[in-house]
Amino acid sequence: MELHALTIHALQDLLASGEISSLELTRSVLDRIDGVEPKVNAYITLDRDGALAQAAAADTQRQRGEGGSLCGIPLSIKDVLCTKGLRTTAGSKILEPFIPPYDATVVEKLRNNGAVILGKVSMDEFAMGSANENCAYGTPKNPWNLAHVCGGSSGGSAASVAADECIASLGSDTGGSIRQPASHCGIVGIKPTYGRVSRFGLLAYASSLDQVGPLAKDVRDAAIMLGAISGYDPRDSTSVNQKVPDYTAALAPDCKGLTIGIPKEYFGAGLDPEVDEAVRRGIALLEEAGGKTVEISLPHTEYGVAAYYIIAPAEASSNLARYDGVRYGFRDHDQDELLEMYRHSRSQGFGEEVKRRIIIGTYALSSGYYDAYYKKASQVRTLIVQDYAKAFSQCDLLVSPVTPAPAWKIGAKIDDPLSVYLSDILTICTNLAGLPGMSVPCGMSSSGLPIGLQLQASHFSEEKIFRAAYALEQRLGLAGNKPQL
């Protein structure tokens, strides 16, 4: 197997023994990018020279006995995280010329760990989307079938991992944007508990929901990545000061002692029969691994999408007010009146979906509608949080599908935003409650598209998720399953 196809943990051994260098590894990944990127279109900005320089530095670091768990490992980064001196677009024309003067905390942590940052990968504009079809720089393709979407909004991250155009990646998840593309691309993606990972330097979409997390080739790699980026950050006032466990130590081949809840509302009408079958097979394997299953009810699940599509756009309308064409980003220089300059710069710089959500959010927050929409949605959010609290008094984990169906064809839903919003129905409530959630591959559809299984746990219980996901992965034997490109 070529170096670019290996996992972080396999490469750690090869790098530690001196069998390979980070320079060799990085060249292998760059060659792979040259070979498949014209088909996949995962990258917005590739920093070839920077990556090779970082790899050489990592090799020196390693020789000195320095560097962390990711020393010399080439990674891609969703283009929503600030990278000092490296263009950061958020998938938007409005930020096309933006060169951040600082690193996001998670990027700084990766650099301090010795990781090699290859470049910035595709995303739905400002992380708004479920298919990565709203990117100003083109749609990345699903490596398993290039006619299909790879999911969004961290679609570039998922595609780059699945296509071996990096060893692992960072994404962000506001309503399912790590888990959903991970599911569609047959890889592992985890959205950690809100507050576990710093949001400093993450270009904000909906601040009370956004969370950064890894996308990786297998469960162990996801645990290594999450360990590297977790922890308190005084620069993020919503960061939680709590000790970070060793997630890799939680990986065990069984689920003995874990009670696994099956939320009945997640297996309702509209679920693709092949997804239903694959997830139920996964549940049977978790039982075989020693997990005890119980049926759980989360009665307000069906209201999650409606609450989310008020709360997230409301926060977005506020967060995106900063893009005014004055301090950074695109500006329409033809306007000689300030308000017109704002309006024309924003209208030309933002794409259709972003404008749609800003308008929804502004409407929901406007005078006379606040109580009917935003307050109501925030109250329903409380009911969803209470559903979970009750569920986790009865079980350790919740198991469900990630998406109602495998990845759809590119363009199939482009004019029907509501139908796209409903594809997030199984992931959105996790964000409203701030819980950790993972997508782990559990099967393939008859048309050859991956299917993911979702694991959710109570706040800061990522270790339970890793344990069950690892036990499942060991029994399924899907790790190492690769698309033909």
């Binding site: 003067p101 609450a307 308008i359 502004t362 307050k375």
Partner: protein, 94 residues
């Protein structure tokens, strides 16, 4: 509730967005569909339910009120689409 093109134009103005007539028409239809779906929330009685604004029990995080180092002026200005080396330049307001 039926959304009108006038409401879309008004909200777009509040949001500092300029929409073409075709965009107003399309947005009106789509917003109407989305908000009709959101009406679903009205099925629930939330009279005695406190709203959640934050997923965790985190309260305001205060920092000491002290001067700290900031970005150098040139770095802070570097991404400005129009600047004069000392400040961002905008169309005359007064």
């Amino acid at each position: 509730m039926k959304i009108t093109p006038e409401e879309v134009r008004y909200v777009a103005k509040l949001a500092r967005l300029s929409l073409s007539e075709a965009e107003v028409e399309k947005t009106t239809l789509q917003l109407d569909g989305i908000l009709s779906y959101v009406e679903k929330l009205g099925e629930l009685d939330t009279t005695s339910v406190q709203p959640t604004t934050h997923a965790l029990a985190i309260h305001n995080a205060f920092r000491a009120d002290e001067t700290r180092e900031s970005l150098p002026q040139q770095e802070a200005l570097a991404n400005g689409p129009l600047q004069n080396g000392e400040a961002f330049v905008v169309p005359k307001v007064i």
